[in-house]
């Protein structure tokens, strides 16, 4: 039984509105646009199967994001990411030379997985610490520690490009 058209329309809208935000954040986390796209598409496919139920949730996109992030985390565990980050940097097709961006990308790639995930979810997805903790199945204290350490590491790279002590 195909979902009623209203439900399908609802799904279409969610897909159109949420695919890029979710996949974009995942691309920053994974260091690969293709991987992010694949994972997000898989999450939306899973969502479609249950959309009649998910669409009634308070935050259907949140369900998709959660599934996508879980898939991404699983994927990252299977692959060494630093390598792919480095590979992704070389042919820069994005918006001309961007030394700060490349530097940040390298810095992100060097972060432990937990820290990178927390940083992307916090600064990009704008999730509160409690939600990140739930998503990562960690305690809030642990998430705060990840964020703190990641910030120290990334701040170093951010300030490197700027001459701020005159």
């Amino acid at each position: 039984m195909p979902p009623p058209t209203a439900v399908q329309r609802d799904f279409d809208q969610c897909y159109a509105a949420q695919f890029r935000p979710i996949a974009g954040q995942l691309a920053v986390y994974l260091g690969s646009v293709e991987d992010a796209q694949e994972v997000t598409q898989e999450a939306f496919t899973r969502a479609w199967v249950r959309w009649a139920r998910i669409s009634r949730y308070d935050d259907p996109a949140g369900w998709v994001r959660r599934v996508a992030w879980n898939l991404a985390t699983g994927r990252i565990r299977r692959m060494r990411t630093a390598l792919r980050h480095r590979r992704a940097q070389r042919p820069e097709s994005v918006a001309g030379p961007d030394p700060d961006g490349v530097d940040l990308r390298t810095a992100l790639a060097r972060l432990p997985d937990n820290q990178r995930r927390a940083v992307v979810l916090h600064y990009l997805a704008g999730l509160p610490v409690a939600e990140i903790a739930e998503l990562c199945r960690a305690r809030e204290g642990a998430v705060r520690t990840w964020l703190y350490r990641a910030r120290l590491a990334l701040a170093h790279h951010l300030t490197d490009g700027v001459t701020d002590d005159a």
Partner: protein, 188 residues
């Protein structure tokens, strides 16, 4: 050298990550939503088939529990009733009459489900088999060293106490049960 204020750092971090995010979004080529829906539809068909199979499996499992369960429970009605083997070793000076009387008591006991006599020669043969991997041990034992015994099986381990009392007869040296925690007779 001024330490950078925290919120300024947060801001810059957010902005820098946002740039990365924007770059990634520009590169994204989302598949048409109809492709995703079609994939979902196929998935649901597979899921439905899988669920049906699962439900059937669970149902048949429950069926067997409901219908076989009571029957099984009936067979092991007495809790903690596990069969065990035991041995009544006879004294070296046991008389033929004592030996027969002990056998008769065992055969008359309702708790005992099987009885047989083991002569010195049988015991020696069993001993040799049991310790085939330790020839020096076998060599140290002569055919007439080992005692005669009555070997019997109890349907319920719990009855061994009653059997010990009943076997407190002239000619019995010791009653040893496989269920005894520390020493156990050679298993048959």
């Amino acid at each position: 050298m001024m330490p950078e204020p925290d919120d300024r750092l947060d801001e810059r971090l957010r902005a820098a990550l946002g740039d990365l995010d924007d770059a990634a979004r520009r590169q994204l080529r989302p598949t048409d939503v109809r492709t995703v829906s079609a994939a979902g539809r196929r998935r649901r068909t597979v899921l439905a088939a899988g669920t049906t199979a699962f439900v059937l499996l669970v149902a048949s499992g429950l069926f067997s529990v409901w219908f076989v369960g009571p029957w099984r429970a009936e067979r092991s009605a007495a809790p903690g009733c596990r069969p065990t083997t035991a041995t009544a070793f006879l004294r070296g000076d046991v008389t033929a009459e004592q030996r027969e009387r002990i056998g008769a008591v065992l055969r008359a006991s309702p708790e005992v489900s099987a009885v047989h006599f083991e002569s010195r020669a049988d015991a020696y043969e069993n001993f040799k088999q049991l310790y085939a991997d330790a020839p020096e041990l076998v060599d140290s034992v002569r055919p007439d060293t080992l005692p005669e015994s009555w070997r019997f099986t109890l349907a319920c381990t719990g009855d061994i106490g009653a059997m010990r009392q009943r076997l407190a007869l002239p000619g019995v040296d010791d009653v040893v049960c496989a269920c005894d925690p520390r020493r156990s007779p050679g298993r048959r």
